[in-house]
């Protein structure tokens, strides 16, 4: 088994193996929820931030990080949760967005283009992850997890999840 010494770059690399349990194609690095890694002689502190406050995956992610790093020789791993600055989909990696699309989930649009909070505002133009058509419609702003909205493609008729801009 590979033992990592106190090199934070290698720890960041190792954390790519921890997946989001609800969207298993994404690592926690792809999601942008790992905010800091600090190593000292006594302990390793990994700071993470939740995507949504009620996200039930956070406890599991914290456990997975501890297990992974324990396997790499870190006896004392502390997981710190921070809330500010609040997580945004702009922190998701380009690679992560590509993986989402291949998985069948439309990746989040860049934040600055939307943030239209007008009531009954037209839906964002979200391309279908299967046929790339922009001829899609929003079924509901809330989906199977807090981070997703429900869409349907008017061309290929396929319903799909949109990882909403947040």
């Amino acid at each position: 088994m590979e033992i990592i010494n106190n090199d934070t770059a290698l720890i960041w690399k190792a954390l790519e193996e921890v997946k989001d349990p609800e969207v298993p194609v994404l690592s926690i690095i792809d999601l942008g929820i790992v905010r800091n890694v600090v190593v000292s002689d006594e302990e390793l502190i990994v700071t993470i931030t939740p995507t949504y406050t009620g996200c039930p995956a956070m406890d599991m992610i914290a456990t997975d990080i501890k297990l992974l790093l324990a396997g790499r020789g870190f006896k004392k791993v502390t997981i710190q949760n921070i809330l500010s600055p609040a997580w945004t989909t702009d922190w998701m990696s380009e690679e992560g967005k590509q993986k989402l699309k291949e998985y069948g989930i439309a990746p989040p649009q860049p934040r600055q283009q939307i943030c239209n909070n007008d009531l009954f505002a037209p839906n964002e133009a979200i391309p279908c992850p299967r046929c790339n058509s922009y001829h899609t419609r929003r079924i509901s702003e809330f989906g199977s997890t807090a981070c997703k909205a429900l869409y349907q493609c008017n061309d290929c008729k396929e319903p799909f999840d949109y990882f909403k801009c947040h």
């Binding site: 406050t53 996200c55 039930p56 500010s84 909070n117 009531l119 509901s140 807090a146 429900l150």
Partner: protein, 249 residues
């Protein structure tokens, strides 16, 4: 210190109690998509409640945890606003309750981002992004139902009648809240109150609904004086921990 604890518990309890009420819709929503919307909102509220309880627990110390605060306090110790504990009624009444509270939370969190307490500010910053969805969703539904069919309009008028007197409590500061306002920890609520009334009236107008004329407003929740509805809600919420103390998954 006790004032900031009480205030944090007020915020936590309001979220927890509303999420418990909304959760009663799980599996009973009028259509699947709106059932999912309601439970999504409920999960956000519960997440925010946890953040507030966790913070309160660190301030209280003595072994307090988010769980002990949620499951082992009595009715008189709960500080949620009265509106949160009101029964679901029909879909219209639930929507209207959500709208009144989301509008309040939207303005409150916006103002708390700049408060002097770092953790309250962080929770508000995080929560605001979620409340923004809740507010848009509930506002659209209030308009859709109020300005919908004769039947939906009638139901929204009844809902307004049932809930209106509980909408003033947000802006009647409890002693602990006034203390924090006076010492500059949290911003004054006066400006919020005016914006709140303007925003509420503007949506109600679009929904073709008229706010009731009386100015009497209920209060008490913030100091633990509740309506008859909180006790039964807590009995259900706390049943497992009361019956099997310390039980875990």
């Amino acid at each position: 210190m006790k004032e900031i604890i009480s205030y944090t518990l007020y915020l936590a309890d309001t979220n927890l109690i509303l999420s418990q009420r909304n959760g009663e819709w799980c599996g009973h929503g009028p259509i699947l998509e709106q059932d999912i919307a309601m439970t999504n909102i409920t999960l956000d509220l519960l997440g925010q409640a946890r953040n507030f309880y966790q913070y309160a627990a660190t301030l209280i110390g003595n072994g307090a945890t988010e769980d002990s605060l949620a499951y082992l306090r009595t009715e008189r110790e709960f500080k949620n606003c009265l509106l949160a504990e009101q029964p679901n009624g029909d879909w219209g009444q639930t929507i209207l309750r959500q709208f009144f509270i989301s509008q309040y939370q939207f303005l409150l969190y916006n103002s708390l981002i700049n408060c002097k307490d770092e953790q309250l500010s962080a929770i508000a910053e995080k929560g605001l992004k979620e409340v923004t969805y809740h507010l848009r969703w509930s506002s659209e539904w209030v308009i859709r139902l109020g300005d919908g069919t004769e039947e939906s309009h009638r139901r929204m008028t009844n809902a307004l009648e049932a809930l209106w007197t509980y909408t003033g409590e947000f802006f009647i500061p409890a002693a602990y809240e006034q203390f924090l306002i006076d010492n500059g920890t949290i911003p004054s609520q006066d400006e919020l109150k005016l914006t709140y009334q303007e925003n509420i009236n503007s949506i109600l107008k679009r929904a073709n609904l008229n706010p009731p004329s009386g100015s009497f407003m209920q209060k008490g929740g913030k100091t633990g004086i509740h309506t008859e509805h909180l006790g039964p809600l807590l009995a259900e919420l706390q049943y497992m921990q009361r019956t099997y103390p310390g039980a875990e998954w």
